[in-house]
Amino acid sequence: MAKEAKVVEREEVVVRFSGDSGDGMQLTGTLFSDTLALEGNDISTFPDYPSEIRAPQGTIGGVSGFQVNFGNGKVNTPGDQADVLVAMNPAAIKAHCKFVKPGGTIIYDRDSLTEKNLKKAGYQTNDPITECKLKDYNIVPVPVTELTKSALADLDLDNKSILRSKNMFALGLICWVFNRPVQHIEEFIQRKFAKKPLIVEANKKVLKAGFNYGMNVQAMTPQYMVDKAKIEKGKYRNINGNVATAWGLLAAAEKSGRPLFLGSYPITPATEVLQALSERKDLGVKSFQAEDEIAGICTSLGASFAGHLAVTSTSGPGLALKGEAIGLAVMAELPIVIVNVQRGGPSTGLPTKTEQSDLMQALYGRNGESPVVVLAASTPSDCFEYAYKAAKIALERMVPVILLTDGFLANGSEPWKIPAMADMDVITPRIAKDPETFKAYARDPELLAREWAFPGMEGFQHRIGGLEKDINGSVSHDFDNHQKMTDIREGKVAKVVDMVPDVEIYGDEDADLLVVGWGGTYGHLVTSVRQLREEGKKVALAHFNYINPLPKNTEEVFAKFKDIVVCELNMGQFTAYLRDKLPQFSYKQYNKVKGIPFDVEELKNHFVQLMED
């Protein structure tokens, strides 16, 4: 039954690597994605890893995945389902076959189907393919373990190190399948293991062996061709949401001239922000790993009082713990950026999975009337832009700003056109200049923002705190004063609207349906709207990055459309907020809380149904 390798031309292809947590799937996926990007494709990636760091080997709970979507046009999502799944063990087949398109290709390590592995993965038989009902798929069993071993037979390596390089075999094979060179990966291996020549040699050998295997047994696998994408000229790099967030804050520090201080506590999936900033001692960052979430924000608030660009980073449960201190920042009118990388909740919830369910917490989760500015990033790379903007707003308006990202953006990566610092907006912190006229809570009559003076500045000595105070900064329990100060704090946040760009309409202004979203769902929403328009449907998207305050033109935009559907990965928090802010419109909603992003097909089906109703 030998057939020639068939070459399939595609605009977009989705590949998912999956294996045991110890199989190195995240690295494998990242290296393949980098290769794609370096070779000129647009990509979007999504790692899908278990929350147990070392779940029992070979079990379903220990399966770790990495999905990448690449194409010859703009790629906005990591793709709903994979064209090709690479599975390193039977547990990976079982756990991730549901992420493969019907009829898609499943490449798996034939040698991994041992009795022990099958049992650990909970199979009843020794035939995973039949048991998982995968008969109609293009199934490609490959003796990965055996071929890895024989590739390394003449090297002096222990069995454990040999098995550890299995992922390179899979990677080499996939490079062949997608007609991509292994050279970038080889360079990476060379750099990473510079001090261990034996490991370099072993990895390269196995990588090559995988590639050659693909070439030699062409009969078994379809080879996909995806052209380079037509993307804007310039210099690019890959970046994920957490690093982009960290770098946006660094850029704001440089631009504003205020040194960056990060007080934080490790928490999934936000830890990488702390790590990425801790690395930047070269740029003078002061990072403080605190004893808990509360100390994370409190040290940061202390640094804000002392004149730094103050940041704290966290995820849902940590935001809950920081609530009281955010209230203090509201009351003391100190600038601070709180980065919240949302994950599935409540409580510990789904630590490694994505969700948008901290919106209400960000807006209202504090005692008292405690308004803050809330922004949300919408792609891995625009985390840079919104982190920068969050810092700009905080420093120029003396308000705490909460930046919402999510697990999907945080770990997902995409190519990013590198900005030049000279092109970034100016940031002018409101630093007090005249000690004669300075009063702690005197403020600009227009912006309602007070001035910032910090210890060490001669003649500006003053006291601030969490108690209500009057305009002079003296503690006041006067009831009219409390009303007045509450109005001022509210008004100050509302005034930030003049720093907020209008929300744009993507699609037809006379569309039958306006899709509304916010934050990290952008890629899926825009893809589904684009595809529907290509199919001749009249549909539009308004996607929000500024939640509080909302863009000035929000009402005007909504008024153009007969039907509005608000889509979010929660039970309807933005919808409730819009109903409160703009009650004159009627909102349909589409919600999902499964710990995973939307799926373009599901969105399209839903929108079509709404338009037909």
Binding site: L250, G302, A303, A306, P455, G466
Partner: protein
């Protein structure tokens, strides 16, 4: 550090009316701190006073320095941020026993462990005053308060022990009524590099009046208090006729010249030794068998956080390849799209 500026106590008083109860020990402690600040040679604008919540935490409002009255328990964390951000400042944290040791206990021990160069003044009145009289983590076992009408059933903290447990480098004890001594101890705390904890025994006239009467009764206190000084014999009593000796693995109070004890048997206080054994024994001393220790009990040198942080940054920057954001943005794997 000395910048040759001199001030008087008045330079540190703000115009705000002091609202502590008349007779409250806080008044005297504030005087002592203001006097200490006036003589430290630090510029006025380089002082920052950070407090949490509680009676004593109103302190920053009564000072003319930079001040931040924060939230319950968090003063240590906020002060840590202030000092780490700007190590040139002299940062003082004012906390009560509830603020520092109950709700803020975690921050307290970790601040001490990091050895950030803060001066923590711990006003210990062994009661919650601001909420009108509930027991605190330093209230003695059996204490009857509004929330322990039948007496508490828990052991109190001895703050000095927490400091030692967190491998602290400075601990001193003082008492509100002795302003001169409090000033001395606060001055020593300010000079120490690292976290200095000064426990001030403070009388709350309203809710725990007389808590320290047994220690501080003018008629008997010479026999019940010992003022330790580094390098000096551990003597006490109206005429320094009593001393501390080490016997059977513990401290013992003796009368010099009686029962065969001579002045040579009396211990010399070594605040600078790293060993915690004797410091621990001194912190633990309690009536009736032993006097209560005052003064600087421990004052050892060690690397301190804020300076280490600066050093590390300077060290990395010596050989840095990334000098600005544009460098960073363009570092690593990049590619051109033509």
């Amino acid at each position: 550090m000395a910048e040759n500026v001199t001030y008087t106590l008045k330079d540190f008083k703000s115009s705000n009316e002091v609202r502590w109860c008349p007779g409250c020990g806080d008044h005297a402690v504030m005087n002592a701190i203001q006097k200490a600040m006036a003589t430290l040679g630090k510029k006025h604008e380089d002082y920052a006073v950070v407090s949490g919540i509680g009676c004593s935490s109103r302190f920053p409002y009564y000072m003319s320095t930079f001040g931040f009255h924060t939230i319950h328990g968090r003063a240590a964390a906020i002060a840590s941020g202030v000092k780490s951000a700007n190590p040139n400042l002299s940062v003082w944290q004012i906390s009560g026993d509830g603020d520092a040791l109950a709700i803020g206990g975690n921050h307290f021990i970790h601040t001490v462990r990091r050895n950030i160069d803060l001066n923590i003044i711990l006003f210990n009145n062994r009661i919650y005053g601001l909420t009108k009289g509930q027991y605190s983590p330093t209230s003695e076992r059996g204490k009857v308060t509004k929330t322990s009408p039948f007496g508490t059933i828990e052991e109190p903290f001895n703050p000095g022990n927490l400091v030692l447990g967190a491998r602290g480098t400075f601990f001193a004890r003082s008492i509100d009524s002795n302003v001169k001594h409090s000033q001395e101890v606060c001055t020593a705390a300010a000079k120490h590099k690292g976290t200095s904890v000064v426990e001030v025994l403070q009388n709350c006239v309203i809710f725990n009046h007389g808590a320290y009467n047994d220690i501080n009764d003018p008629k008997t206190r010479a026999d019940r208090q010992i003022f330790l000084k580094h390098g000096e014999k551990m003597l006490f009593g109206a005429n320094n006729e009593k001393g501390l000796v080490w016997e059977n693995g513990d401290l013992k109070a003796v009368v010099v010249g009686e029962n065969g004890y001579t002045i040579d048997d009396v211990l010399v206080h070594d605040a600078k030794t790293e060993s915690m054994n004797l410091h621990h024994a001194l912190i633990e001393m309690a009536l009736p068998s032993l006097p209560v220790a005052f003064g600087v009990i421990r004052d050892v040198e060690a690397p301190f956080y804020d300076e280490e942080m600066e050093k590390q940054i300077a060290h990395v920057q010596e050989t840095r390849k990334i000098t600005c954001m544009d460098d960073l943005l363009n570092s690593g794997d990049t590619w051109e799209v033509e």
